[in-house]
Assembly symmetry: C2
Homo-oligomer: 727 residues x 2
């Protein structure tokens, strides 16, 4: 139960191969390399997913781009191929060391009297994000003629590809390279590779329509190990104006010069540094310990440390799922972890929203509003990649109109909250001047143009929205959304105050540039009279939205039993949940999780007890909120299953991989982030600035975590006996 | 091509039997007796539909009640049954004289050397609405032993029945009777019958579980005619507190005493009187003449002349379709005819809405509003009989959520318009004091509580409604609805002015009773700043609702080709029309039809040309608006097909009879009313008070119609040469 995952079976079915590709992936914020085996190709879902490069082919949806695979390697001995695809091994082990993001595999085949073994290690360098490195060792028991083919393989998995047009491949000095362009925007993606060895072999370059390879042929002694060290570098045109071809070749040369051990050392150094503030220790519960560390590994490995123009897609860098797009998941579920343990990354994540503000403005205008309306599915420009028809009806094959793109306006508030939390936690107000204030004000402005005043009821209302619970679309006065709109307006006023006070010139300039006049007056009135549903005075339960309580109150089990097809969508007009009180995920309870101090214990309990049995938890984002509120209610034992569900989701692979025919698998970065919040804020009871009200599960002997406070990381150790803190 | 319909075939398929039952029906506002044959029972959809009596059985929807059938009659000769159901006749003729609402049938069978003939006449008395009368004559060519069974038959068609529990049947003096109670509210429905003849026969009373009958047995001479005169009276507990059993028996005795000829004479006298002001003459186009007169017959025969507590269901008294409920069809499409030609009936129709105001108030409260929200499907109390799930999905069999009940708020405005038109046309302001003012103000109050102010755009908007076009539900700022809301508020202010000026005491009393204070102030502001979509400055086209122009602009033919099942619903979330610009029926064009003076000719033309090809005309209410606006645009030849479609719909039976598995056939009273409007206001160009701008179709040599002006009927004769008028 240490810092690794491992398993011994060779997966044969599609779902399992897909899942292992996710679970065993390595990544570094620039790219994610799936947990596939070296001899795999597109059929086994090999991909090296690039963060921030998107492409669209024909009428299919736009998605992130997978680079050609420079880690391809296959072996044959005496003209017999040894590959798990067509030969069952005698031994197989796939392992992920998630302390250091090291992927290892060892496989042995027996054929006749011969035993062939390969063992391989690879990593996506945390030190140089363009770099992949791999050591590939082969051994034969009785000697023989070995051919290893390795190179840059274009046979990678695409949902809606192929995205890359290969326009050049060849040899340049020690390196082979493959240069390609995306189909839509003609963005160059260049991969260069150098392969070193310390034994003689015949080397032949092979180019095919699909890639460029080297065939190494040599006679192996019995039981001797023959190792290839591969260095691969990727550059693409989204990150630089420079000649990416030269950049890649230069970089790969330097990497080879440094050598595998040196690169690995530098890579591990970064991991050591990151774990220092990001690790959470759980004593007494090795399973929880492992799952939480794995969750943190996912977050750290997918986070953009090298730039403030990227964020973290909902499915990390594990696949093209959900278009490789960034959702509210980042700010709502992942951001608190980074803010507490890696504030530099948190700042980068905010940068992404600053840089995509124009796209959000375009979206607001598209729907006839003003200000900024952030994308439900955000790619490189901030324009919304989400379609109005985001689900396919299983009965008719017709696209189903969903109101994710146009009605989930709460995305704005999640972003605003991240900015405000960042400033308040770090004290770093520069981000406001560097675009943050503009983001917040434009988000608020959008809400001002979206909301309405009821002259009869004398209150402002937020109409026609979809809250976090996507099974009930186009509702009025969703409690969560209304409160978050209010929060956004409060934050806009806080920005006015902060800037007006501390940076009066910048504030005047900004106000004038944005034409921010009426807003100030309007905001005051709106904030005072915005309707936020109150808890029912008798039951304490808040109505999720106007009319929710009038929906059929039907047990989850019965609703499930109404499914005519296991793949059918629960929401939409005809979905089994839509006209009942069954909800997809935490909605009111998420509100409670965010604003625990605004509600009494009785109200929290009443809502938890009311909504929990009515929640399908059809989204992995649901568990953390239920778990956190359970902790607030001193029910750590009821929170615990939510924690484990959230933290193990990508280890067990128990989540849905397909929605109808659409692949929705991949890593669940939001759940990973939720697990951290639940551990630290829930069980640890960390409320910020040294205040803790821990409620550890009974098996936990100690919980230790680090959080930045005023620029300094402080480590808390919570035990049943008490809490200690060290800087 | 005179005042009658006839046909000679005996229908064998279900659809045709259903349709003839509608087309050949007779009615008198109290009840409608379907155009079925005397030997028919429930299997052939026999029904005597009672206006204003409703019942619900189990979980099925509440619908109007059909009385037991007192006109049942079947003949056998020498122990051989002669019925069209199981013996093909040698000759058959069914005929409807719609000048006088007389149903006739004549049928001859040949078997061996024998020829058996029955000819029958019946009517629902316009003089005494409780009365049905029938003469039944039988003749055999070679003589024989005849048995005629006739009586009160409980085997009537019900969609959701059986509704009546028969608790008594028997003989009282000359009469037989059948007494029953509805299932839900135990409303008594009593049918009494007396049968006279002028020849000897053996008479035997037969009672079964299903009814009470007399068997008349006699030996017939060759070629002699033997006639039975049946007098039947129906009373029910919705119309009186008195003993309906005694009322029925007394009335049937008196009717028998008067005799068939006397009753027929009185009946015809009423028709003569009604046609005097309601007839429209078209010279040069006998088909149009016949169709329009038939439409007028439908309207007059279904109209409640005897009470102001009933209205006219959307499908008249032809069946239980649409729950036997009253829709906006009455006020929007039928009312203008009655107002112009039978103002007393118009007043009765208003009375129905006054008496059901409480139900409308309950509905407003149910949805969290104030004032009155009239039912989409109104029955005796004004509570809404419409379900939230009004359509069944053909693919899953699931009920489909429709927003007819809760979002078609425009029903209020149609009612308000009828009241105002009535007062303005008749000058009779008493109706305002007798409840009309309250209806108008409460309708306006509902709108005030429904609408919203956009603080950013500084205008009032009407959000989340369904306009006349039901394929696009839950839309914002439907042009038609917004304009009608504005009209309603204008009318409420007109009421304030009229009452305040002419009836100050009553006004003070009413204001106090309603608590009408803030409304006055609010109304002023709302009326000034209510958003009503303007014609596009470039194209002149008004957007049906916010976002309509962004929907896929796909030809009707292509949309139709996307149907996977011919029975599937075009609207709802997955309907083929929903996400396109294809609309069900006139929506913007209905607005133009109602407010022609507010829009330029160019705007009218632009909208007509834009919307017409995008209209499925899936509702029979669509044709009149397109026809009327075509007339306004001096295109009578393009209006003509709409007129004919509208006027002949119940003659040809070309409309849909089933929506999925739900029967939606029956008479189309709204289309009947629309035909009259189109003839008089469209082709005749009648604008009120003597102003006419006629545009006759080229074949029409003359159009002659009567309208009340200032309490006096005036008859206009429009010819290509000019117009004359006589009082």
């Amino acid at each position: 139960m240490g810092w690794y995952l491992e398993h011994n079976e060779v997966p044969s079915d599609r779902e399992r191969i897909l899942q292992l590709g996710v679970t065993y992936a390595v990544a570094n914020g620039y790219m994610g390399y799936r947990g596939t085996l070296e001899e795999y190709t597109a059929d086994q879902f090999v991909a090296c997913n690039l963060n921030g490069v998107y492409d669209r082919v024909g009428e299919k949806w736009r998605e992130s781009v997978n680079a050609p695979n420079p880690l391809y390697a296959a072996v044959s001995v005496d003209d017999e191929s040894y590959s798990v695809v067509d030969r069952a091994p005698a031994f197989h082990c796939q392992k992920l060391d998630f302390r250091y993001g090291l992927h290892r595999r060892k496989t042995s085949w027996k054929a006749g009297g011969q035993a062939v073994t390969v063992h391989v290690e690879r990593f996506a360098s945390m030190d140089d994000v363009h770099l992949l490195a791999m050591s590939y060792t082969v051994k034969v028991s009785t000697g023989g003629r070995i051919v290893v083919r390795t190179g840059i393989d274009g046979r990678v998995w695409d949902l809606n590809g192929p995205h890359l047009h290969i326009y050049d491949r060849g040899v340049k000095g020690d390196a082979i390279y493959l240069a390609s362009l995306t189909q839509e925007l003609h963005i160059p993606v260049v991969v260069a590779e150098i392969c070193r060895r310390d034994f003689p072999a015949e080397e032949r370059i092979v180019t095919t329509g699909e890639g460029i390879y080297r065939d190494f042929t040599f006679d192996a002694d019995p039981q001797s190990e023959y190792t290839f060290w591969k260095f691969a570098v990727i550059y693409h045109g989204m990150e630089t104006e420079e000649d990416v071809f030269r950049l890649a070749l230069d970089a790969v040369g330097k990497a080879a010069q440094t050598g595998y051990d040196g690169l690995l050392k530098a890579h591990k150094r970064v991991w050591d540094r990151m774990w220092k503030t990001s690790d959470v220790k759980i004593e007494g519960d090795p399973e929880a310990q492992k799952a939480l560390r794995y969750s943190i590994y996912q977050l750290l490995s997918c986070a953009p440390r090298h730039t403030d123009r990227l964020s973290i897609p909902a499915r990390g860098l594990s696949s093209q799922t959900y278009k490789g797009a960034v959702f509210w998941d980042t700010e709502m579920f992942m951001f608190p972890f980074f803010l507490a343990t890696q504030p530099g990354i948190a700042r980068n994540l905010l940068g992404y929203r600053i840089h995509t503000l124009e796209g959000a403005r375009r979206k607001a205008r598209e729907y006839g509003y003003v200000g900024a309306f952030y994308a439900w599915e955000s790619q490189e420009t901030g324009d919304d990649a989400c379609s109005h028809f985001n689900v396919v009806d299983v009965f008719t094959g017709r696209p189903l109109r969903t109101y994710f793109r146009d009605k989930q306006i709460h995305v704005n508030a999640a972003i605003v909250k991240a900015f405000r939390d960042y400033v308040e936690r770090t004290g770093d107000e520069r981000v406001l001047l560097e675009g943050g204030a503009e983001v917040i004000l434009e988000c608020a402005r959008f809400y001002l143009s979206y909301l309405y005043y009821s002259p009869y009821w004398e209150r402002y209302e937020v109409l026609d929205v979809t809250g976090p619970d996507e099974y009930h679309e186009r509702v009025h006065n969703n409690a969560y959304t209304n409160r978050m709109v209010k929060y956004t307006l409060e934050t806009a006023r806080w920005v006015e105050d902060r800037l007006g006070e501390a940076y009066p010139d910048a504030w005047v300039e900004l106000k004038e540039r944005l034409g921010w006049e009426r807003e100030a007056m309007l905001m005051e009135d709106v904030a005072a009279r915005l309707y936020v549903p109150d808890p029912d005075p008798e039951t304490g339960v808040m109505e999720q939205f106007s009319g929710y309580f009038k929906l059929e109150d039907c047990p989850l089990k019965e609703v499930r039993s109404r499914l005519l097809d296991p793949r059918e969508y629960w929401g939409g007009d005809l979905g089994v949940a839509t006209h009942t009180q069954i909800i997809k995920q935490a909605d009111v309870v998420l509100l409670l999780a965010l604003f625990p101090h605004e509600y009494s214990r009785e109200v929290m309990r009443a809502n938890w007890e009311y909504y929990e049995p009515r929640t399908e938890h059809g989204s992995s984002l649901s568990h953390y909120a239920y778990g956190l509120v359970a902790c607030h209610l001193d029910m750590p034992e009821r929170a615990y299953p939510f924690f484990m569900k959230s933290a193990t989701i990508d280890i067990t692979g128990s989540s849905k991989q397909f929605a109808g025919l659409i692949y929705i698998g991949g890593a669940h970065l939001g759940a990973c982030g939720g697990s951290w919040i639940l551990a630290v804020r829930g069980f640890g009871g960390y409320q910020g600035d040294g205040i803790l009200t821990p409620r550890l599960p009974s098996t936990w002997k100690a919980l230790e975590f680090t959080v930045y406070e005023g620029g300094t990381p402080r480590t808390y150790r919570v035990t049943p006996e008490g809490t200690t803190c060290r800087a």
